[in-house]
């Protein structure tokens, strides 16, 4: 489904270039769940950003369903993000200028889905996440766990090909973490492809494969 081959990514640090990823290779198949672990600052989120089509890279190829997207234009990349990728960020990053409904509606609006269908899809996803009663609530009135559920709802409402999550339970308490992991398990069982960046062994233990980013390269751990 997605293949990274010989990916190299560097950042400019002052006047010097620093490589953060070197010769990264991975194949992610349809329906797989993968955890990527590693120390802070090792490049996990950078890798996730590359997979999400948010960050260009200097060397290597990235293939999505056989198409090399490293040569995509900005518009094509936007279409890739719009149609195939969902990304849950570490701090949820909900839009606090609108309510739960409008936050979840955002990716569907970019897909130009009719308003009626947007409404039914949001109601369905909120029902699945047990958040129906929060549909008109403002973001500031939600707890951390509720915000994370809204972020998940926004990610999965467009039925993406792949779900990317960056430390999805990093800022949650144990009880909330468990409930979020149950949601991820359910998504995986329904055939969702998932890549999760995490420090947390509990989270990684729920994934089929665990990779570790070490010395700028990706190693399969289990």
């Amino acid at each position: 489904m997605i293949e990274l081959a010989g990916i190299k990514k560097r950042f400019i640090d002052g006047k010097q270039y620093t490589n953060i990823l070197e010769n990264v290779n991975i194949q992610i198949h349809q329906g797989e769940s993968i955890a990527i672990k590693g120390k802070s600052g090792c490049g996990k989120s950078t890798l996730l950003n590359i997979l999400a089509g948010l960050l260009p890279f200097e060397e290597g190829d990235m293939l999505f369903n056989g198409t090399n997207i490293s040569r995509f234009t900005a518009k094509q990349l936007a279409e890739y993000r719009r149609n195939h990728v969902a990304y849950i960020t570490q701090k949820f990053h909900l839009l606090d200028d609108r309510n739960v409904f409008d936050n979840i509606a955002l990716p569907l609006q970019y897909l130009r889905i009719p308003r009626g269908e947007i409404k039914s899809r949001i109601e369905e996803v909120l029902h699945d996440l047990d958040m129906e009663s929060h549909i008109k609530k403002g973001i500031s009135s939600l707890s951390g766990g509720e915000r994370q559920r809204v972020a998940i709802a926004r990610a999965i409402v467009k039925k993406p090909s792949i779900l990317l999550a960056d430390e999805p339970t990093g800022s949650l308490d144990e009880v909330t973490e468990e409930s979020i992991l149950r949601i991820f398990n359910a998504l995986h069982q329904n055939g969702m492809t998932m890549v999760i960046v995490t420090h947390d062994d509990t989270v990684s233990s729920h994934c089929q494969h665990i990779y570790e980013l070490h010395h700028k390269r990706l190693h399969l751990v289990s």
């Binding site: 900005a74 990053h93 990716p107």
Partner: protein, 429 residues
């Protein structure tokens, strides 16, 4: 999508948007006033410069103002011919410009004429009316001039035509007249009516309306507006008077016509030559008594006005520009801080499928909408309340509005375009 986002943005940032809107409105009003002022100032100084630069001006007066001297002169046979010759020579010489002009009122047939046209209205005079041959006449403002006045001050008609050379000859009974712009609601081109001027009745025909705010420099007034005046040509009468009334009319007319202004180049030889020429004309016409007033009030006023205009211009430019600049800095800072906060918001849109160009467009619309609202408000304030600024001023302001929004948006867009957008949502590795 963009409009929906704009609606949400304005709803969320009500207070800041309001502050920005008021600040921008103030900025546009200051800029509009400034542009308008500078334009007016340039217009005034250019107009004055064009007319008077390099010229020397003298007022020419006859010496018959004393009662006894006057009586003695008009009792001489052929005095009218002498006056006519004198004026004719002054008016047609190529050695200098001779401006014959005066603002003697006329009596006009009154069919409900607005008060603003009556003689002495600004001084609080009441409508003076008199009956002539069963018709009611009212004293109204009138200005008489020769052709050179028309040319010298560049007076043009916006409707109809101005006078031709032929109109300055007193061959025909009907007098072609020009009207000031305020008369456009009262008369039409081709309308005819009756006036009484120096006790003689004439039929007049409207041939044109002057441009609004047409003015000349007359009687110590650097801005003598003609909008409310009926303009009569100083006509030359080759024929002898047919009656006593006619003689008195020609006498009064010619005495007014020979008291005018002489414009010559401002160099000693031209001035000397002009004086010699007038002396020769006076001798030839047997006009024994005349005098000059050199450096007449027009010229002094012109010089004074030019100095004031230049000083004003510098002062006003400094005040306006510094106020506008300060205002602009505040606006840019507010916009920068506001939009900088929006970068993480844009990043979320980007993750969900927006393009960078789309985000820049969204940002521009957010900035431009507030600017446009402020521009429109300032337009209403300037145009309807302060009555400042013409189409050109408003167009310049609109260009400033668009340019400002584009420049600010591009400055902010550099952050979106040239650095990883994900930096703005603080993802830790």
């Amino acid at each position: 999508m963009i409009l929906n986002e704009l609606k949400i943005y304005l709803k969320k940032h009500k207070l800041l948007t309001m502050v920005l809107y008021l600040q921008l409105t103030l900025f546009f009003i200051i800029i509009g006033t400034f542009i308008s002022f500078i334009e007016q100032l340039n217009y005034e100084s250019n107009g004055l410069q064009q007319i008077y630069e390099g010229k020397s001006i003298y007022q020419l007066l006859d010496g018959y103002y004393d009662g006894e001297v006057y009586q003695d002169f008009v009792s001489q046979p052929g005095y009218l011919e002498r006056l006519k010759n004198y004026y004719n020579e002054l008016n047609h010489t190529n050695d200098f410009d001779y401006l014959a002009m005066f603002n003697h009122h006329i009596l006009l047939t009154d069919n409900g004429l607005p008060d603003e046209f009556i003689e002495g209205y600004e001084q609080g005079n009441r409508k003076y009316q008199t009956k002539i041959e069963n018709a009611t006449f009212t004293a109204v403002k009138s200005f008489q001039m020769n052709k050179q006045v028309l040319d010298f001050f560049g007076l043009v008609a916006v409707e109809g035509t101005t006078w031709s050379e032929h109109d300055f000859k007193g061959f025909e009974d009907t007098v072609p007249v020009l009207l000031g712009a305020s008369y456009r609601n009262v008369f039409h081109i081709g309308d005819e009516t009756t006036i009484n001027f120096y006790n003689k009745s004439f039929n007049i025909k409207i041939i044109g309306f002057l441009k609004e705010n047409s003015k000349l420099y007359f009687n110590n007034d650097t801005e003598f507006y003609l909008d409310k005046y009926i303009l009569l040509p100083y006509r030359e009468y080759d024929n002898k008077p047919t009656s006593e009334v006619d003689e008195l009319f020609q006498q009064a007319s010619y005495f007014a016509m020979i008291n005018g202004y002489i414009i010559t180049d401002n160099d000693p030889s031209s001035i000397q030559s002009m004086m010699q020429r007038i002396n020769a004309i006076a001798q030839k016409s047997s006009i024994g008594s005349y005098s000059f007033i050199g450096l007449n009030p027009h010229f002094l006023k012109y010089r004074g006005l030019m100095t004031v205009l230049q000083e004003d211009k510098t002062l006003v430019q400094t005040v306006f520009l510094s106020t506008a600049l300060l205002n602009l800095i505040i606006i840019v800072i507010i916009l920068f801080l506001q939009q900088k906060k929006r970068l993480s918001f844009f990043a979320i849109h980007y993750i969900n499928g927006a393009t960078k160009v789309g985000l820049i467009k969204m940002q521009w619309i957010e900035i431009f909408s507030v600017m446009l609202a402020a521009y429109l408000t300032s337009f209403i304030v300037l145009d309807q309340i302060l009555k400042i600024g013409d189409f050109k001023t408003q167009f310049i302001m609109f260009l400033i509005c668009i340019s400002m929004s584009i420049i600010i948006c591009l400055l902010l867009a550099s952050k979106l375009l040239f650095r990883p957008i994900m930096k703005d949502i603080n993802i830790g590795d």
